[in-house]
Subunit: 177 residues, 2 copies
């Protein structure tokens, strides 16, 4: 059996928690795992079709307030596929930081530019950190539920690393001045 692509696993993971539409998935991805994983409509909808063809999910039309939508549901096969993926050791973890690239090649311009690039990065991190911290705080109260615990742990990963980023930013700026 060929290795499923990751967006498929994201979809299965979301549906394992509750039924939803493709549109819901996009939103859910954006504001829960968005800081380390992305999805786009051009990505999600074709994957939904593919997953349904493989019987890993099943669609049902629902009309909410007269509007038609397609709600997806995970099948037993889908749950099995999700579990198999979770049980694989293999995981690709990629960092792709253009800001670091710019720093590394800083010799192509002047130190002021390097510092400025760090500041741009820092600002973005600071904003995202604020959001993640609030998220963590709101999750702290319901860690008895496993799903919330997992959610909390991923958010807390973000908080820890973003704080490390900020620490590094100050140090780097100091050394460049």
């Amino acid at each position: 059996m060929a290795r499923e692509k990751r967006i498929n696993m994201v979809i299965l993971g979301l549906l394992n928690h509750e039924d939803m539409t493709g549109y819901d998935m996009k939103k859910r991805i954006d504001n829960s795992i968005g800081f380390f994983w992305n999805g786009s409509f051009g990505n999600i909808y074709p994957a939904l079709k593919e997953l349904e063809e493989g019987s890993l999910i099943k669609s049902a039309s629902a009309s909410v307030g007269g509007r038609e939508k397609i709600v997806y549901h995970i099948t037993a096969q889908g749950k099995k596929a999700l579990k198999e993926w979770l049980k694989e050791d293999q995981a690709s973890n990629e960092l792709r930081y253009e800001s670091l690239l710019k720093l590394f090649f800083g010799g192509g311009a002047d130190r002021g530019t390097a510092i400025h690039n760090i500041e741009v990065f820092e600002e973005k991190v600071r904003q995202d950190l604020g959001v993640l911290k609030m998220l963590c705080k709101s999750l702290e109260d319901c860690l008895d539920n496993d799903d919330h615990l997992y959610y909390y742990l991923t958010a807390s990963f973000g908080v820890e690393t973003y704080e490390a980023y900020l620490k590094w930013c100050s140090k780097a700026k100091k050394m460049l001045k």
Copy 2:
């Protein structure tokens, strides 16, 4: 002028420091910026062709020990392009961590699996951290040179974040047990 793709900037950045072959570039990428940026031959060679067509780099044949190789050199135009990229604020910084995905969707399996996945991640981080720490140490002695300073700072970014990862790993494992 269309935005150049990043591999092009990586190549210009490398050549801005010294002339080299495509093969050299691959090696250089792997063991200096490899932890946050990748390159492959199927990526580099076509980019070299493209850059030369745009007169950003220039090739010269050299025979070393009877073997032919193609050594590239950055042009004034290339240096300008590199500088322009460095001066752009825009930078895409992407984290794509399948391990976090597996944790987030941990509900699809059991806690033991979640813990195991964290351990797999932890082990990889621990190894990479060792390499980065050695690199940092060896660079600490020559920070008066700007290129070394930039190199040191990127490596130190890796050390700081990987240490944060490890800290998070222990915490996460504790909470899951």
